[in-house]
Symmetry: C2
Subunit: 351 residues, 2 copies
DNA sequence: TTGTAGGCGTTATCAC
DNA sequence: GTGATAACGCCTACAA
């Protein structure tokens, strides 16, 4: 049987109140008795029963992470960033991942009710203001990741997709490309929309006269392949293709290889995300890197902040900059990888 | 304020005892009153306070996953497998990842004390029988993953590294290779040792006269590169290299490419793990695939089983088979990827 | 400084 | 079938 506070009290010949005070550091105990109590606790390997404690303190010292059905690097790096930061705050991490439909995510969010002091939520298309209002217990601190929810109530932290795409277009223009095509992502995907918006803005800025070529894609490798085939069929073939994610860029590379086109000699290719494969394809892929672990860390910092000041309005929007990673696939490359950061974290609070 | 069981009792005009009975399905309540109670609960959006409940039931309905400092696919797929299965058992998942030293992992394990009903622990070199005995609360069900702990007390689930390597060697022999070299992993790594053992066993079995060439590696890409350089310097160059993981195999490919050797024409290369990159390198890499999500799922099933029967001896050893994935890097390949499963899950109980 | 006692929200054990 | 009521382990006024 594991020891309770009563056992420690008996062992140290004091009351349970003193044990509680001594162990929780509140003061009001003689150094000598505090010492005796700590020794007794150690001897008995006493660990406070967390359920009993949180029944009265109303705190679980646990935060929840709710994620859609993700695979690979993004998932692991995000959890890693959140977990590390949570631990440094003395918080545990309850993970609920692989949520697909809206009902599924809603159930998971409700199931966290009472088990967590705060939530980090990575958005899926169906997560909107109404969804949150319906399924989030009032007053539970939450940080929304990668979301376009603007309910004027919650803290939102986003990847700076816009600035990342914008900077990559600028790079392509700098090294001499003009006819630049863009392969977009799913219409209901927030990242995809932001990236396309960044592309259009950059084109308008740097190449005002140039027609804007945007092809459809769905973030899958084969959709990149298909888009590249379409490009090949154009009368005036683009000098560069910028895919809204690396996976599609890899599909483009494949299509160009099959068509006998040299990359970057005949056509340049760029991606977004810097997935591990980007380094290994031939030619290595220039891309926009997202520092995912840092995203998780920042989200957790934000959440810890919210948890510290209950009642304060959480409404705020934060943005995490990206890095431009220059490799071989765009030309003008001289060995290794050149990395440029678009900007530091940017904060747009609306308090 | 959120509603408690008392509020529901008042609303339904019954006692709290009846509310508890009605909502927990135990019976002993008239269908009519049960219905009335459920309606009252729904009206008040009543959610039982989990801390209060687990204070008396001694169950948290949460399991913990303790993982070393991992990156990438392995981490995410494992969590995914565990989470999905846990959810289907109505269990929450508390994740504690990125543990480095022994003290770090020990602290994390102790911190889970009282917050979880069971633990899935992915082994690191320092996790042994003594470590578990010192940091694991007695009686807490645990499943050890990827571990050579044989304390005759705990359930252990391992990847069948031995059979995987063995089968790959058989494949290499089948397609005509004889002088096969092996690049090993870190000496203190369980997987690495098992894989090397499988290699030696297979060589002894299939090519009894052949000298066994084993080179040192550390699972890093550059160690594969270095090993490949050593191979190139040998008087009688091997016909095939089998690296203990894909990362090193990629390093080998790089070295051979630089040396102007054709793969698989001049030399065959095989890896282990089937990391995503394996498909994308040129030539695509033949390897041994580990179904990681399935590993997580099986671990969780095992754990749920243990949690259901308290007191029963948990001691058992389970093994999950691997798949041989034949791509281009070994020769004798005809498009696509051929996949062969070494075996189904194998169970060696010592009850 | 220290001890006593009430209560957090739930389930379980009794009576009725 | 239903309702009091005693735990569960802890924290925290309030008394001493």
């Amino acid at each position: 049987m594991t020891a309770t506070i009563k056992d420690v009290a008996r062992e140290a010949k004091v009351s349970v109140a003193s044990v509680s005070r001594a162990l929780n550091g509140g003061g009001g105990v003689t150094p000598a008795t505090a010492q005796r109590i700590r020794e007794a606790a150690a001897r008995l390997r006493y660990v406070p029963h967390s359920a009993a404690r949180s029944l009265i303190t109303r705190r679980t010292h646990t935060i929840g992470a709710l994620l859609p059905d993700l695979h690979g690097e993004f998932f692991s790096e995000l959890i890693r960033g959140i977990d590390l930061e949570a631990r440094s705050h003395g918080l545990h991490l309850l993970v609920s991942s692989s949520h697909d439909g809206e009902e599924d995510a809603a159930a998971a969010l409700r199931a966290m009710q009472g088990r967590v002091d705060g939530v980090v939520l990575l958005s899926s298309p169906h997560v909107d203001a109404a969804f949150l209002k319906a399924n989030l217990p009032d007053g539970l601190p939450i940080v929304l990741l990668n979301s376009d929810v603007k309910n004027g109530a919650d803290a939102v932290l986003n990847i700076d997709n816009f600035a990342g795409t914008y900077a990559m277009v600028r790079h392509l223009v700098d090294i001499g490309h003009q006819r630049i095509a863009f392969v977009g992502g799913p219409k209901d995907n927030y990242d995809a929309r932001q990236r396309e918006a960044g592309f259009r803005a950059a084109m308008a800025k740097f190449l005002p006269g140039e027609p804007v070529r945007v092809l459809a894609g769905d973030f899958g490798e084969s959709s990149g392949y298909v888009a590249a085939r379409e490009l090949l069929a154009m009368k005036s073939r683009p000098q560069a293709v910028f895919a809204a994610n690396d996976t599609m860029a890899v599909g483009c590379l494949q299509a160009f290889k099959e068509a006998g086109l040299a990359v970057p000699g005949d056509i340049a290719v760029a991606g977004f995300d810097d997935i591990p494969i980007a380094r290994y394809v031939t030619p290595s892929l220039s891309t926009v890197r997202v520092r995912i672990a840092e995203l998780g860390k920042n989200a957790m910092e934000l959440l810890a902040d919210l948890m510290d000041r209950p009642g304060l309005s959480a409404a705020s929007v934060h943005t995490l900059g990206c890095d431009i990673v220059v490799r071989e696939s765009c030309g003008a490359h001289r060995g290794g990888a050149t990395i440029t950061t678009t900007k530091k974290i940017r904060r747009t609070s609306n308090r």
